[in-house]
């Protein structure tokens, strides 16, 4: 049950609610509820059955896989207005959750029971569009991950990653080598070696837990070379 004042926040996250049929809004108010989830909490683990679906109002959730050796790789993240569409995936297909979802920054989520979710997909076009769009976006982005992992060299991927998170205006980044490794699906040692190389090439400067940008254009060049 959602309090009316929270409908405003929900509408910020899900803009289509502003023009949605009154019926959907009524159902939404009745079925949805808001929960706060602290950073570090696992929302779903590999193999879980899903009986609710969450749409984020704030915070960030990271969805990733873990290999047998303990290595991780990020599949994607979602934040405000997005939902763990993999959950939708399990709900609609009665499948098990094929990855791990963990809150990265404290999150508030609108939680909707699986039964209501399924029902709305059938009854309300705006809701249906929302779900299709997310599902479709994820499929494309996960396919892009396959491409990255299968074909690109690690130095290019790391350069790419850094170039996206650093800019002349935000020239320093707090992140550990281990975190970069988990992002890209490699090991910490490999990241350390490549960062050492970037440092020798005067692309970045490194400190414990931080990376500082020296040469953004140079990073982009490394990202493109292969």
């Amino acid at each position: 049950m959602l309090r009316p004042e929270n409908l405003k926040r929900a509408t910020t996250a899900l803009p289509f609610l502003a023009h949605a049929p009154a019926e959907l809004l009524r159902d939404f108010l009745r079925e949805a509820s808001i929960h706060a989830v602290p950073a570090g909490a696992q929302i779903f683990a590999e193999g879980d059955e899903c009986n609710t679906i969450a749409v984020l109002l704030s915070g960030v959730v990271r969805v990733f896989k873990i290999g047998e050796t303990g290595r991780e790789i990020t599949l994607y993240r979602f934040e405000q207005g997005e939902s763990c569409i993999l959950t939708a995936n399990c709900i609609l297909g009665n499948r098990q959750f094929p990855a791990i979802a963990m809150v990265e920054r404290d999150a508030e989520a609108i939680v909707i029971p699986a039964t209501a979710f399924r029902d709305w997909v059938n009854r309300y076009q705006p809701w249906r569009d929302y779900v299709f769009d997310l599902l479709s976006r994820r499929l494309a982005s996960v396919m892009a991950v396959v491409d990255e992992v299968a074909f690109r060299r690690m130095d290019a991927r790391i350069a790419d990653f850094l170039a996206r998170r650093l800019s002349p205006s935000a020239s320093s980044l707090r992140i550990t080598h281990q975190e970069i490794a988990a992002e890209l699906g490699t090991s910490r040692e490999v990241v350390s070696r490549i960062l050492e190389d970037f440092r020798a090439s005067r692309l970045i400067e490194t400190g414990r837990g931080t990376i500082m940008l020296l040469d953004h254009a140079g990073l982009l060049r490394r990202a493109r070379a292969m």
Copy 2:
């Protein structure tokens, strides 16, 4: 425009048509058409816009990515009753096709215009369920590919691949090393080396363009070891 005798074949491929509302059937007959596509034909290339969607009546289509070095990796295949859901993906999200789809075995396809497809998703629940289910299945299977590529060793992946296609009753397989490489996203040399190793371990016997099974249990052991 579909001839009534072809509706039977379509219903074999899409069982939900048997219980679908008359309206959907009428639309289906009006909008769908059947086309034969020979093996080797590219259905979609990376970056294509999609304005039709195809559902297979027969044959096999392989969807894959190509890296800059020319290496390939198979994302998935689809055959009778399945559709190139990535097309749905582009249609619903107005995105570009993010991979290559090529007919592997001569195919016949029911072709539906994008506009009709979109319309039916909104109007007919059986159609909607069909599309959701496929999309959702693909997402899960592409995520499994990420897991494979990121974490499993190549010898285990090749052993796995062979164990699936060989059995004591079908103990020989016509396939080239290059084809295995394109399947798994590695290079021909790597496949050759690993097959040589399997041969030395008396798991298989190899000939030009063929692989013969010697020890199925042994292959499965190699597939599990990491």
